[in-house]
Amino acid sequence: MYIYDDIDQRIVDERVAQYREQTRRYLAGELSDDEFRPLRLQNGLYIQRHAPMLRVAIPYGLLSSKKLRKLAHIARVYDKGYAHFSTRQNIQFNWPELKNVPDILAELATVQMHAIQTSGNCIRNITTDQFAGVAPDEVVDPRPLAEILRQWSTFHPEFAYLPRKFKIAVNGAAHDRAVVQVHDIGLEFFRDAAGQTALKVWVGGGLGRTPMLGSMIRAHLEWQHMLSYCEAILRIYNRYGRRDNAFKARIKILVKALGAGEFARQVEAEWLHIKDGPSTITQEEFERVAAYFSNAQHENLSDDAAAFDALCASDRAFALWAKRCVHAHQVPGYRAVTLSLKPTGIAPGDISAEQMDMVADLADRYSFGELRVSHEQNLILASVKLADLHALWQAARQHGLATPNIGLLTDIICCPGGDFCSLANAKSIPIAQAIQEKFDDLDYLHDIGDIELNISGCMNSCGHQHVGHIGILGVDKDGSEWYQVSLGGKQGNDASIGAVIGPSFAAEEVPGVVEQLIRTYIEQRTADECFIDTVRRLGMAPFKERVYAKKQEAAYV
């Protein structure tokens, strides 16, 4: 993982000093609320329902055991002993005190962490594939270029006050696990015909109020030009993006208004002026950063799985976990492991300080002291020896981190919702829990198979409901909480935006609606067909009929 040199360290240290002074001036009445707001937001601090919420950056989802222990320490000392992993690979503390935030940032800086640009109308944390560097389908390791982008975007002076927030995701694998098409800029790294790393550039994707998939504005860009091309895109957006209406201020609205072709033309014209300038990435700089991301520490192991297979055969619980939570790896004898943060009864993505310490220990013992956060809000130990899987499983199970539900119905993506977030129209966590309780039979869950159910408490769509196979959105109707259900969303290379099935439901109806959708699928599926494929084959009609027929029946009983 990337390690700071004294230049990186000075930047985060100076940021702490700057924010400490800004907080002092705010508390002394020298800065108004309006003036302080963007300053605290660009340090990740929101004022929320109960208390401020602090969002700490986890660049492209990569953490070390040392960093995780520091996060556990912060949760204990400054918060209520737990924290929440977000859908953008960040971590959020829900109860810090505003006056303590400079001290928290200072603690973070001691382990090369920060909360820079985790909110505000600026370039946010760069996100990527949680299996970067280990996925067998990887073409280009996205992490070195993600780190180069992180540095470039940190305090970029021209783009600190954009019309609206700006999210960049990068992917370097055949299967897109970073959902690049729903980001303001999505970059896909690939090898071109000459064997060189090149980029496909998507612009103008996004969820929120106006969900849209991005448009590809360049099919081939040499990697050396990544920064200047992003600069050109951002300059066009900064100059012409709408600022008159916050709901229409994202770049997707500009791209749509101009048309992707015209937007691309303007970007190319701008880029011609700055192409080949000093921000052209040198081979030397690329190699410097790439040196931090290698699998050189891995041992030469056999990929013989006979012992592992025997354990699976004799221990059904272990086999179920292995089926859902263990993933293939580039290096023989190694596997990646997802630790589920989705046990029934816990808010999806929540983790206690004790669990953080425990996971840090597991990372040290089994995975080179590193781990990752996925946008599905789980933790990943990326490089575990095949021979260690059983011991790891036993340890994880003791701490509630081995629910065998990765990719299943109960592996719900869920925002904090109305229990915490001041933007929310409705609660989301209790809905997730009610669904998890309804589907608590593991055999049934495994029979249902791969499915993604995503929940957001409002149109801002932090829970990615638009790309859930089943999406649930909390809406406010005359002051009470209702839930809109959508069907047919999907992340990945063939991403799609789901469509709403009809009138919304009361909270207590939602688990029953999900059950009807699942039953329809089970009756209609062909062999080996997973939920989203059945939806795509049949369309919405049979699902919709079933759900609303049942609702009507219930009304007449």
């Binding site: 970029h156 002076p157 300059r235």
Partner: protein
């Protein structure tokens, strides 16, 4: 006490800013909220307002539409080095450049920040300094606050007319918030990896960057 910072010191201001009378227009609303920011390319004044504006003697900074409409009358003052032009954040820098034979004939260009959160001024400044090679005074006016100064300086502003209720002396400190930025910008076009030889040290110890190859330009 002056509220003007120029080249990192507080100095007296010998320029007069000429503003057009505020346009009487109906309050616009979008999604139930009052529209604060104009769209890039919108007009800022009516022909009557421009024609009727009174321009005092001495060194003046006039709005772009006034300069464009009354160029014949104002050209001698420009030639004498006593006429600057200011841009609204929503006006196009290209329009200013097209209105003069040489952008460096203009002794002073000011960019208005109607609210500090309107970041278009950063791109206007960057384009003036890089694309159009503007070398004279570039001044930030309007809602200019110390917490944005460092970014303004990096984008090429060398003068800051601080908001009247704030101390320019206090603000000077914020020009030095960071000592080594990552990316190139107007004040130093080189990204950090071209300024220093940085070496990967994967042993886990932070390592000193060595060999500065270029000093910070002002």
């Amino acid at each position: 006490m002056s509220n003007l910072i120029r080249n990192n010191v507080v100095v007296a201001d010998d320029w007069t800013l000429v503003a057009l009378p505020a346009i009487e227009e109906a309050v616009r609303k979008q999604a139930g909220k009052v529209v604060i920011f104009k769209l890039t390319g919108e007009h800022s004044a009516t022909p009557e307002q421009i024609a009727g504006a009174v321009i005092p003697a001495g060194k003046v900074i006039v709005p772009l539409p006034l300069w464009q409409a009354r160029m014949d009358e104002l050209a001698p003052r420009l030639a004498a080095g006593e006429l600057g032009v200011w841009l609204e954040s929503f006006e196009l820098v290209e329009d200013l450049v097209a209105s003069v034979a040489d952008i460096n004939d203009v002794p002073l260009i000011a960019v208005n920040f109607p609210r500090f959160a309107d970041g278009r001024g950063f791109s206007i400044a960057t384009l003036l300094r890089t694309r159009y090679a503007y070398r004279n005074e570039l001044r930030a006016i309007g809602d200019v606050l110390r917490d944005q100064l460092y970014y303004m300086k990096r984008c090429g502003f060398d003068a800051f007319s601080m908001r009247a209720d704030r101390s320019a002396e206090d603000a000077l400190a914020s020009l030095r918030d960071f000592s080594e930025p990552y990316q190139g910008a107007v004040d130093n076009p080189l990204p950090v990896w071209r300024r220093y030889a940085r070496h990967a040290d994967t042993s886990g110890h932070a390592r000193k960057a060595v060999n500065p190859v270029m000093d910070d330009t002002d």
